[in-house]
Amino acid sequence: MSPKKQPPKKVNKSRETAVLEAVPSRKTGKTAAPTPTPAIRSNNKLELTPRSAEQMSRSGSAASPVAAREEGVEGRYVYGIIQASQPKTFGKTGIGSAGENVYTVHHGDVAAVVSKTSVFIFDPTRENALAHEHVIETVMTTNTIIPMSFGTVFRTEDDIKEVLKSIYPSLKDVLKQMQNKLEFGLKVTWDRDRVIEELKRDHEEIHRFHQELTKKHLQSTYFARMQLGRMIEKALAERSADYVREIYDALRATCVASRDNKVIGDKMIMNAAFLINRDKEGDFDAAVNKVAQKFSDRLNFKYTGPWPPYNFVNIRLKLERAT
């Protein structure tokens, strides 16, 4: 990486590795849309979005009543739902080590993308997570997919059809909403300590208080330091809220929807997902670059995608517990 700070650290989505590439304006064939220059997106495969991690745990617990491993019994692992009337296959890339064929199970014009499995509960290992995402991404290149959370396993194809039938109108509704949409992630971090130093210098009230505190020769400063701490905490929250609001405002025009996920760690101030119309991808890239450029001296932007719309699809397929 160049030591010189490039506005948004954007890295191409590369399939097998988490290597951050510094090559601008090139994508590794995931999407055909042109990307404006300094932008590089990353799609760090090692990193699970908090959403998918959450989904994993949720689906894990939902599936727990089913026997963990029933040898010889076949289940169906569901990757997602697409709109399709005719059977399709997506190669022998199914989850698990057997290289099962990935195919579709239909109800009318909606279909579940599945592969056979003898395992009912998958550990969220890197290998399994990659296999799950790999299938979804393959499907995504040609179809609009409602991605299922990791670890959704049904006993029989009839069970799947039953569920597809029962929630058919909702699936159609969501498929329509997700038509030609892509998801992008944007994480914004800051150097908290630097901002605190800045606040001590520039924030009128904090600056004054800090000066007074340093003048308190030999007197107890415990209370004052606590107060200062609270003041700084508050100012930090305000400042970060201001930044976040401004970033959202800057991107709103070019996206369809946004989702504000909880931040992770001390330095992150924004952890968002955006739903973009396929034809607006370039505009969105430009908007991200512009806002990243604007805050380049104080905020770090980590921009990833395109992803399947994990963050915008909330349909949970319930396991049918056949007797």
């Binding site: 959403r51 939902a62 039953e162 569920v163 029962s166 929630i167 109108p169 909702s170 699936l171 509704d173 969501v174 909403q177 030999l218 007197q219 107890s220 415990y222 209370f223 004052a224 606590m226 929250a237 305000e238 970060s240 809220a241 976040v244 609001r245 959202y248 405002d249 709103r252 369809v256 929807a257 946004s258 989702r259 504000d260 739903l275 963050n311 915008f312 699809v313 909330n314 349909i315 949970r316 319930k318 396991l319 049918e320 517990r321």
Partner: protein
């Protein structure tokens, strides 16, 4: 003759003057002011006594060696021979040293010569100050002096003050058989020198002690000064003996002073004395709150004063030590804590009340309500929503389908940029399996980052309201039907009554002038009442005569015609008519019926103005909100007696009248019927004593 120390430097700081050398030995030793001057003088005096050479070795307790300390007429190599360990007990020199008794040792280095060894240690008849202070008898000086028991060299440390004393050995080379007298002389000289040495050593010991104490005092002062807590030492009369810098800030007047400062310091002193007196009574360690004034800032500061009595060595009360801790911050923090706690409690109270109220509302709203978080996950379902989506049975296909519909809707709304959402959603009742269309209305709650934190969705089931609407329409239809049949009945009756009525009227007419004069009043009644019945019948007929064809007319002309017809009556009643005609499109109406409407209303107005008044007529075209439909509006206002409020709502019902026997009570009923038949509306506003306004709206018909 110069005296040299071992290392060749000049011995002592005070050079021995030639004149001194001539003095008797006693005086020379007395002249020495420093302990280190004693040995050189002693050695010189020994040589003067006629001994060839002499030297002093001293015990170095740190290295455990015996090292030469001073010498006269001794070569370096000669002296080196006597360098040995303190523990070399086979060395006769060391043995003599340890015995602390003078004696002869054969000189192995110089045959034919003996060595006279005389150990010198710190001794004094009087005990040191420390031992005296501590009332102890274990003083090294006196112990050595008394020689009550032999102290070993290692024990040359005072048990009271831990001072390490000197221990040296004066060694004099003597002939093999020295004269006893010369040895006696030598012994007394060395003993004398040691007395002087002990005295000087004692002085120097005290001097060092003073220096150490000074240092300790300095350190204590630094500690006191750097203490932010005021510390004050007072005597038994509460007079300040000592105070640190922090205390001085409150209780001492600086050189440059102001009135306010003086007042503050005086106040502080007063407060402190009062506190001290009350604490002194307790006698033991006491704590007390004490408020002082900051002399610079003028602020009140809260201190916690801790007071400890101090005692002299004799355990007599010496005064008090008061340490004051500034607890202003603590108190402020405590107050803040208290305030926050109160705030929290009242906020909790408000929240609880709000929650209870909200729960009550939610429970009684009668519509399913769903609250979802930022992840579009339901976090609150009211009992009705619970029934639709509740998680009781995760595999119930109806609930799963309902949840899917809700999930799709809520996530679409949550992540969209819309502030509110309205959509029709179909849910199936899990028990009755009946599908119902709900009107979903959603709103958002935002956080300080402008991001969605919660969404609230209310599902309104319109079925009961639609049913109610249906019922209303049906009832209205029924009323119209009833009205129509009543009208038909009335018309039939009127028609049937009309013919005999005409005959009666004609008969009465024919009787005119043929009635006996006494029957004349009865005849008049008969005539008037018959007229009245005829009028009622006519009006009834007019109401139902709607078979008459409608055609476009100008409403303004129609009103003008009616007014013209009634002009004389109005003039007679002294009613002034004011008209304000707006530009109107043609109205498609039955002109006869409208004629009747206006004449009824105008006559009513005239009747209400027995003493005259004004009648205003205004027509306007009113455009509907959609811009397509419109109304022709006619306003008729009088300044008459008005309609009493108890009947104003019923004036359009049959047989309601303000005219008593004079009126039939059918006029306005008929008016309303006609307007209604034309698809119009009529309303009335009236104020008793002021007048009445009738407003008629007739639909505009585009031709």
């Amino acid at each position: 003759m110069r005296l040299k120390t071992i290392d060749g430097t000049e011995g002592g700081n005070v050079p021995l003057r030639e004149a001194d050398a001539q003095l008797p030995s006693t005086l020379r030793l007395l002249n020495a002011e420093r302990s280190y001057d004693i040995f050189p003088i002693l050695l010189e005096e020994i040589v003067k006594l006629g001994f060839a050479r002499a030297f002093v070795v001293t015990a170095d307790f740190e290295t455990g060696e015996i090292v030469p300390a001073a010498a006269i007429k001794c070569s370096e190599s000669y002296l080196q021979k006597f360098r040995t360990s303190l523990y070399a007990t086979d060395n006769p020199l060391v043995t003599t040293f340890h015995s602390l008794k003078p004696g002869f040792v054969s000189n192995s280095g110089t045959p034919g010569r003996n060595l006279f060894c005389y150990p010198v240690i710190y001794k004094s008849r009087n005990m040191c100050w420390e031992a005296e202070q501590a009332r102890r008898t274990e003083c090294l000086a006196t112990a050595n002096f008394r020689e009550a028991r032999k102290l070993s060299l290692e024990e040359q440390v005072c048990r009271t003050c831990e001072m390490r004393a000197y221990a040296s050995l004066v060694v004099v080379e003597t002939p093999k058989k020295p004269a006893a007298k010369s040895i006696l002389e030598l012994e007394s000289l060395i003993a004398l020198a040691n007395r002087y040495l002990s005295r000087l050593f004692k002085v120097e010991h005290y001097y060092n002690r003073m220096r150490d104490m000074d240092q300790t005092i300095d350190q204590m002062n630094t500690v006191m000064a750097s203490m932010a807590d005021p510390v004050i030492l007072t005597d038994t009369h509460h007079q300040v003996v000592m105070q640190n810098q922090a205390a001085g800030r409150f209780f001492k007047l600086p050189e440059e002073t102001t009135e306010g400062l003086v007042r503050a310091v005086e106040l502080n002193n007063m407060l402190f004395s009062a506190a001290l007196s009350s604490m002194a009574i307790a006698g033991v360690e006491t704590h007390r709150d004490l408020t002082l004034v900051d002399p610079i800032e003028g602020e009140e500061l809260l201190f916690e004063a801790v007071c400890v009595p101090s005692y002299t060595r004799e355990r007599l009360p010496a005064g008090m030590v008061t340490v004051m801790r500034d607890v202003t911050d603590l108190r402020r923090a405590d107050m803040e804590l208290q305030a926050n706690y109160e705030k929290l409690r009242s906020a909790e109270d408000v929240v609880r009340q709000d929650r209870d109220r909200l729960n009550l509302i939610i429970e009684n709203v009668g519509d399913p309500i769903v609250v979802c978080d930022r992840d579009a996950q339901p976090i609150l379902l009211d009992p009705l929503a619970q029934a639709l989506f509740g998680p009781e049975d995760e595999t119930d296909p109806v609930r799963v389908a309902n949840q899917a519909v809700l999930d799709a809707y809520v996530s679409n709304f949550t992540y969209s940029f819309e502030e509110t959402f309205t959509q029709a959603l179909k849910f199936t009742d899990p028990t009755s399996h009946q599908e119902t269309e709900y009107d979903a209305r959603s709103g958002k709650i935002y956080d300080e980052r402008g991001q969605v934190t919660f969404t609230v969705t209310v599902l309104r089931d319109w079925t009961p309201i639609r049913k109610l609407e249906q019922l209303k329409v049906e009832r209205r239809m029924l009323e119209i039907e009833k009205f129509a049949s009543a009208g038909r009945l009335a018309a039939t009756i009127a028609h049937e009554v009309n013919n005999p009525m005409e005959a009666i009227k004609n008969s009465i007419y024919l009787l005119t002038g043929k009635v006996k004069p006494e029957a004349e009043p009865v005849y008049e009644i008969l005539k008037a009442e018959t007229e009245r019945v005829a009028r009622i019948v006519r009006q009834m007929l007019g109401l139902y005569r709607n078979q008459q064809s409608v055609k476009p007319v100008d409403m303004n002309t129609l009103i003008e015609d009616t007014l013209l017809l009634l002009q004389r009556q109005l003039q007679r009643s002294n009613v002034e008519v004011k008209t304000d005609y707006g530009k109107l499109p043609a109205a498609v109406v039955s002109s006869d019926q409208l004629h009747q409407v206006f004449s009824n209303l105008i006559i009513n107005a005239k009747d209400s103005m027995a003493n005259g008044g004004k009648l205003y007529v205004r027509t306007r075209q009113v455009t509907g909100s959609d811009g397509l439909h419109g109304w022709i509006r006619v306003l008729l206002a009088d300044t008459g007696s008005g309609i009493p409020p108890n009947i104003v709502n019923t004036v359009f019902e049959p047989f309601v009248t303000t005219k008593g026997e004079k009126g039939t009570g059918l006029g306005l009923w008929i008016v309303k019927g006609i307007i209604g038949n034309h698809g119009g509306k009529i309303s009335v506003r009236s104020s008793v004593g002021k007048g009445t306004v009738f407003k008629i709206d007739l639909p505009m018909v585009r031709l």
